[in-house]
Symmetry: C2
């Protein structure tokens, strides 16, 4: 009988009714003979409501106080969940991130986990209790202040605790039955992927698939912790994210799936003098502004002009900051103009099998062209091909690629249980 770590997101504990339903599920796992540790997010919209309150009292609250405020959210959901479990006759004890031993650095709002010392969790398990742990939060090693882990924080808490407790599995509960070959809202015939390697899952997360965050998958890979992504509304097996040792390859399709991302914008710096250091200057100023660049394309310059165009994509939210930073650089770099396009999106094909199968790229591009979609930018990794297309054509491109690689199922497999989507 091993340790099972389960993580439930905000939509799974949005109200008293949902909390009671999740409690039953947890008790069932305990009664099956497992030691159970549950990581829980704040209820539904709690975090947004708290943020709203914060901005009513201060336009620019400090990270320390914002973290203190937001961590109240999980405190509420975890205590309620423990009560609901207690009401079903099982003992449950809730623990804050600090009590659970989630030690972080001091970067408020996006702290990194530097150690996990789950002594109190182990003690609770030894005494037969179910441990409920607040996701998304920790305590700074140096200042002893409360920190939050930032986006995907609860998933990361779950994997980190699972690794520290040497759990058998880290179950991430969501409102769909796992990871699908494409977003079922766009491709109704998308198939559930039974098994994915960490590598493929990382590429899918980076390509915009919303189920798992990059960071949590990276943590799981580093500690070889199996993740089981599944629905909190059904008992079906979901998607297992596991290691795929080369000597024992998983039975898998050449292509795992098609992901898309609507959250990017494209900036083009037109007429950059084609000489050493110009591109470096541009990306240095963006890095100084803490902006993560995704894809970069530089055209070969026309010899006559010795000018080139540099295009790159970045998170929509950083668009204004980037444009302002680049505008300040105009005299130094001497470019002609800046173009900003927030009407773009990214479509990616992911599959570990493409390593050993030539012709994948050509088939991907042809399927998109046949759907009448123009490709604006291209970027590739060993197991992924991404293209930037017009935002309005994302759905067409996803559907076309999904069909071209025979990913369509004969029946509709995906059921989106919750109302909120992810």
């Amino acid at each position: 009988m091993g340790i099972v770590v389960q993580k439930y997101g905000g939509s799974s504990v949005a109200d008293a009714q949902s909390i009671k339903r999740v409690a039953q599920r947890i008790v069932a796992a305990r009664k099956a003979g497992n030691d159970v540790v549950v990581i829980v997010s704040a209820m539904g919209d709690t975090t947004d409501e708290l943020l709203d309150l914060a901005h009513q009292v201060s336009p620019l609250p400090t990270g320390r106080e914002l973290d203190m405020l937001l961590t109240a959210g999980e405190r509420i959901s975890m205590a309620l969940l423990a009560m609901a479990i207690g009401n079903l006759g099982q003992e449950a004890r809730s623990f804050t991130g600090s009590q659970a031993g989630v030690i972080t650095d001091s970067t408020h709002g996006k702290a990194k986990i530097i150690d996990v010392t789950p002594g109190r969790i182990e003690h609770a398990l030894e005494e037969g209790a179910i441990a409920i742990v607040a996701g998304f939060q920790g305590v700074s090693q140096t200042s002893k202040d409360i920190t939050t882990l930032g986006r995907g924080g609860s998933d990361t808490t779950a994997v980190a605790l699972a690794a520290a407790l040497e759990a058998d599995v880290c179950e991430i509960y969501t409102d769909v039955d796992g990871i699908f070959t494409a977003d079922p809202r766009i491709v109704p015939t998308a198939r559930r992927i039974p098994e994915l390697s960490y590598e493929e899952t990382l590429e899918m997360a980076a390509a915009g698939a919303k189920i798992l965050h990059l960071r949590c998958v990276e943590y799981a890979r580093r500690h070889s912790m199996p993740i089981h992504v599944r629905s909190s509304f059904s008992t079906k097996s979901g998607t297992w994210v596991v290691e795929a040792p080369e000597e024992k390859p998983m039975e898998q399709a050449i292509i795992s799936g098609v992901a898309h991302d609507r959250s990017e914008a494209k900036i083009t710096v037109v007429g950059v003098p084609d000489k050493v250091g110009e591109a470096a200057a541009i990306f240095e100023v963006l890095a100084d502004s803490q902006i993560n660049i995704d894809m970069i394309v530089q055209n070969v310059s026309a010899a006559a002009t010795a000018l080139t165009d540099i295009s790159f994509t970045l998170p929509l939210a950083d668009g204004q900051t980037a444009m302002t930073a680049l505008a300040r650089l105009k005299d130094q770099v001497g470019y002609d103009q800046l173009l900003y396009d927030d009407g773009v999106g990214k479509v990616s094909l992911i599959g570990a099998g493409m390593r050993s199968h030539p012709g994948i790229t050509a088939r991907f591009f042809k399927s998109i062209a046949d759907a009448g979609v123009n490709i604006e930018m291209i970027s590739t990794s060993e197991i992924r091909i991404s293209v930037v297309v017009n935002e309005d054509q994302i759905d067409d491109a996803v559907a076309a690629a999904h069909a071209a690689f025979d990913l369509d199922s004969d029946e509709v497999e995906a059921v989106v249980y919750g109302g909120t989507g992810r």
Copy 2:
């Protein structure tokens, strides 16, 4: 340059606007050159809303989880208050009860403070920051679990921290200008009392005056910590609660004020055999049910019957429990019947001066009789006389006694600023 501890209740921080107003007040105290420590309660109705959620998931939540849940309330208000202060250009840091070093026993829901180790608060003050501390909460010395202090808990936190920090004063902010000679809603001409001894304040709290809780005054008396009760809506001086050493008596009226209490019920056990041990049996069963008895009256028995009646008052909320417990005792004690009356109230006259002034009791009774009010029970201490009267006649009795002891002011002094009353 000393340390000032300020405590703001839930109605003072009910919304973003109130929090910003309180923040200004705190910053003013800091700018006047004080080190400032602020104790804050949960915003407005937060605690009730959380309790409601708890009862939706479990009819009988454990104390541990209830405390975990409720302490989220102060976490929210203290972080918001720290942000609002930051927005005014002063650094403020919020601390949970645990972080502030409020060490308690393990009695969830009504934990007792057993030690205060405010190292982090002192450190924050040394660095020039304002410290915001969650009221009402602490951490268990043995289990390290989060505890709450129960009713009046935030006031007690404030006094306990003030004592541990050797503060100059503990300011308790409320929505009236201090403690009055009577409830201004009943007696519009009630006067603000500039100074009260701990002893008198304790008697007033026990007699139903709602401004300060018994427990916090007891703590202050034990540590000789001056309390200044004042309004968060004005800058007027309020009521100082201080020691009154006998060699240096305070300038004070014979009578401090008239208090009343509508939260009591009266039970009469009729026809109790007048022999040793019968009364003990009755009050033992009540004590076993955790019921606090207030006043007790036993009539002299008629020699012919050797039967007596025992009446006592108790909190209204415990009425049903007490009646059930006593009913089970009928055969053992052999009484005739139980009478229950929830239509009663208590009116009390308090004043350290009555020790040395005979005739006070007579004048008090006469004023009540002249107002046409019947006295049902009487109880006295060295500095207090209390009577139980019909609930509908409380206001008349209070007004009559207030006038009889020349407590009326020439003008209306009391302004109730908030909407909620206390």
